[in-house]
């Protein structure tokens, strides 16, 4: 798992089914920027989780979807 890299595009696609493409991409890229990962097209697994955890701080459906996406990311990685 430590060698796994995750394309940042994959992260917003985890959210897009619930909040739509545009909002999902905006939320993920904004979160990545907030924690200093915006210039990284590929993230480590822990970095990807950190981005989703940042998005999960958003109130409402965006945050809930990010929380759920974290568990789906774990499921996919296991």
């Amino acid at each position: 798992m430590s060698d796994t890299t995750i394309d940042i595009d994959r992260l917003w696609k985890l959210l897009s089914h619930t909040v739509g493409q545009e909002k999902a991409e905006l939320a993920v890229r904004s979160a990545a920027n907030d924690i200093g990962l915006s210039r990284r097209p590929a993230l480590t697994f822990d970095e990807a989780l950190a981005v989703l955890e940042k998005v999960a701080e958003t109130p409402g459906i965006v945050g809930v979807t990010a929380r759920f996406a974290k568990s789906r990311l774990h499921l996919a990685a296991s």
Binding site: S16, T18, V19, K23, L26, I61, F68, R72, L75
Partner: protein, 392 residues
């Protein structure tokens, strides 16, 4: 043990209807004890009155109930009535109810699932059942939170309660307890897998539109203008083709109109449909499930042929997951499909039963449908048919 799934339909006041349902279900069960009983009731037969009666009659079963916008069995659909389904066989069912859903989906779901065991020895398969109040405006959050609590391998099926298009108060029940602003969650533990199939038949009729102001379950503005104003503009032509005019709707007609023309959220090549349920005095729209500010939507519609075909597709998908013949099904079907299909809705219901082998089924017309498979990223749907098939 062979599964026995039986259905019943009743009219009259709640006491009469409860007695009729109990007699009919018991007669058909012929001594078998159901693990699960569900009932779906119009506002003429309050859930608060039916829940205690059915819970007392089927004391060893998990009894779940919901108010509806219409109800049906394999024998046809009806309004102002109640239908019930009882399932006996190799099943164990545990569940609960949580309240104050609008204030906190997390706390409500937590309360609903707290009595559900993680496993039941000898019953390796788990399928979650959800009934919730869509007027709380957080159907998708509640669905995803439920899946998170119940575990990554859970599959969910269910529906959002209705109230005969009044859009005022929708009620769900577990056991003898009935509440609005609530969620009911149950898990069916089984020896063989159940089948969950889902399909919608909508297509976009507008260009992409940005939700420029939204909060919780309310879309205030689209493209900088009141949401209703934009809806009316983009639906006027399609509505005229079916004899509707958004500019002259009575207040009691707005809910039905909005359920025909719903929002589509682009997700890859598909659209996740989101239903507006009500128009507020300021022109904002109350949604069954929030659409975040900044999202781009397209207003959608569906035509009767696509609605009938999508119901069959949902049944096919459910049957494919069973691995055996179906004993019957519980169906959660959006009220908007009944509005679009009108007298052809019975044809759609009959198609579901045919696809499953001519089996009994019971269901209700919902304000939202729930279907989430292990690995899915979203579980709350609108304008969709969800078929939960039980193995024979």
């Amino acid at each position: 043990m062979t599964t026995r799934l039986v259905t019943a339909h009743a009219q009259g006041d709640a006491a009469q209807a409860a007695a009729t349902l109990v007699d009919s279900l018991r007669s058909q069960l012929d001594g078998a004890s159901p693990a699960l009983v569900m009932f779906f009731a119009s506002t003429d037969q309050p859930v608060e009155a039916l829940a205690p009666a059915l819970t007392e009659a089927f004391a060893d079963a998990a009894v779940l109930g919901s108010s509806t916008a219409g109800e049906f069995t394999e024998r046809g659909d009806a309004k102002r009535s109640v239908v019930a389904v009882a399932v006996a066989g190799d099943f164990v069912v545990h569940g609960g109810l949580g309240t104050a859903l609008a204030a906190s989906a997390d706390e409500a779901v937590k309360a609903a699932v707290e009595g559900i065991p993680a496993t039941v020895e000898g019953y390796p398969h788990r399928t979650g059942l959800l009934l919730l109040d869509p007027l709380a405006g957080n159907g998708e959050e509640a669905t995803l939170i439920t899946a998170a609590y119940l575990g990554d391998d859970i599959r969910l099926a269910g529906g959002a309660a209705g109230d005969d298009l009044a859009m005022k108060r929708t009620v769900v029940s577990y056991g003898a307890r009935a509440e609005d602003d609530a969620i009911v969650a149950a898990v069916v533990f089984s020896k063989a897998p159940l089948g969950v199939g889902v399909c919608h038949g909508h297509r976009p009729i507008s260009e992409p539109l940005e939700v420029t102001r939204a909060e919780g379950g309310v879309v205030h503005e689209v493209e900088g203008r009141p949401a209703w104003e934009v809806w009316a503009e983009h639906t006027r032509e399609a509505a005229a083709a079916v004899g509707l005019d958004p500019d002259t709707l009575g207040e009691d007609e707005v809910g039905g109109f909005l359920l025909r023309y719903e929002a589509g959220l682009a997700s890859g090549d598909e659209y996740k449909i989101r239903a507006p349920l009500s128009r507020n005095p300021d022109g904002s729209l109350g949604m069954a499930c929030g659409i975040p500010q900044g999202a781009r939507i397209r207003i959608t519609e569906s035509v009767p042929e696509r609605q009938i075909e999508s119901a069959r597709t949902a049944a096919k998908r459910a049957r494919a997951q069973l691995g055996t013949d179906a004993a019957g099904a519980i169906v959660f079907d959006c009220i908007c499909r009944n509005l679009i299909l009108s007298e052809r809705f019975e044809q759609a219901v009959a198609g579901i039963s045919e696809e499953l082998g001519g089996v009994p089924l019971a269901g209700f017309e919902t304000y939202g449908e729930i279907a989430l498979d292990a690995g899915d990223l979203s579980g709350f749907h609108n304008t969709t048919t969800v078929v939960l098939a039980f193995p024979g």
